[in-house]
Amino acid sequence: MKAAAFDYVRPRNVAAAVDLLAADKGQAQLLAGGQSLLPLLNLRLASPARLIDISRLPELAMTDEDDATVTLGAGVTHAMIEDRRVPDPSQGLMPHVALGLAYRAVRNRGTLGGSLALADPAAEWPAVLAALEAEIGVVGPNGRRRLSGTNFATGIYATRLAEDEIVTALRIPKLSRAARWGYAKLARKAGAFADALAVAVADPRRGYGRVVLGAANGPPLVMTEAGRALAGTRRDPEQLRRAVETDLDSAADRRFDAYQRRLHRAAAMRAIVQVIQ
């Protein structure tokens, strides 16, 4: 199908985009890579009066790096991460994830910021950035603020971002060389959205352990018991398996059916095994 009519504006900088968004509250929508928004427009599931094209704003394309963190602009594309054209804070986790996200033609335009702002429950970046404890920088009419990447998504397609705010950048702590990660995406075909998704990260030097599930009937699910077990020095597979079961039991509000629970358990254990092997 074809999109319904709308106006199109391309502001020169982020400040101008903020003004436009505030002026048109509720009527306008930001356009980044368009790889989620254009399908919604073409299917007429969305019909904003105006699109504000932020896809080429230099401020959103910037990257930065210091000893402890990497900052990636919201406009960094999946393909830039895949190709390592931007610094990688994650010892290869993010490029590996990008490679399995959608298809190259989609990755060439789709952005980190768009993925986070949309908060599709099955998307990769919200879960990965929660596992890396990223911080999300946003700007709105009342200025800038930083939000935790761990609980940025609050539900299915819902986030802490206000209607008139723009995601500008992600600040991601670097994993040390001693860190290990594991990743499992269960999907019906290469590049399709996940049916289950698990990210496990352990950085013994920082005493850091995290296991996060995606595609979990809601925002990314932080598995606290499994994460704690993974942070320890003596990691026994049987104990980790029990921790995963405890975490799945505590997630009763996600209402996993028996099949989903098996999928999530399998994804979590595959990711964990990659870390401890």
């Binding site: 074809k2 199109y8 356009l31 399908p39 427009l41 290469a190």
Partner: protein, 160 residues
Amino acid sequence: MTAIRVIVNGAEVIDNVAPRTSLGDWLREGRNLTGTHLACEHGVCGACTVLVDGEPIRACLMLAAAGEGSEVRTIEGFDADPLMMALRDAFHRRHALQCGFCTSGMLITAWDLIRRGKASSAAEIRRGLAGNICRCTGYTNIVAAIAEAATAAEGVGDGE
């Protein structure tokens, strides 16, 4: 209407487009470049794949208005390209198309896979084609044709 200036297959084009017009519709209806095919119009089939600034993208998921200042290359824009000639030849000999609806997207995707060195095995080619749907061939001959062109193109289109 939004004014745009775009390089299409090497030639500058200046036009006015309705904001909602996709790049794919503009190429077909505004430029008569009907080699770009639109099917699903939500990003899953790959039939509409074209190059923008040298990289493959979905022409159904990009607004023509957003193409301002960029360089677009469609299947019609590859005539003298050695890698594309090798691919066309291999598709022809290997019977890698039937109705041909998916073919322009397949060729451009394959061209990009070979150029990036991502066509080194049948498994890698299949992974790279996951976003291009063909309802006729069953893929076997497409994969074989791309593998053949990749081998033939070593040292020609590869390693740019």
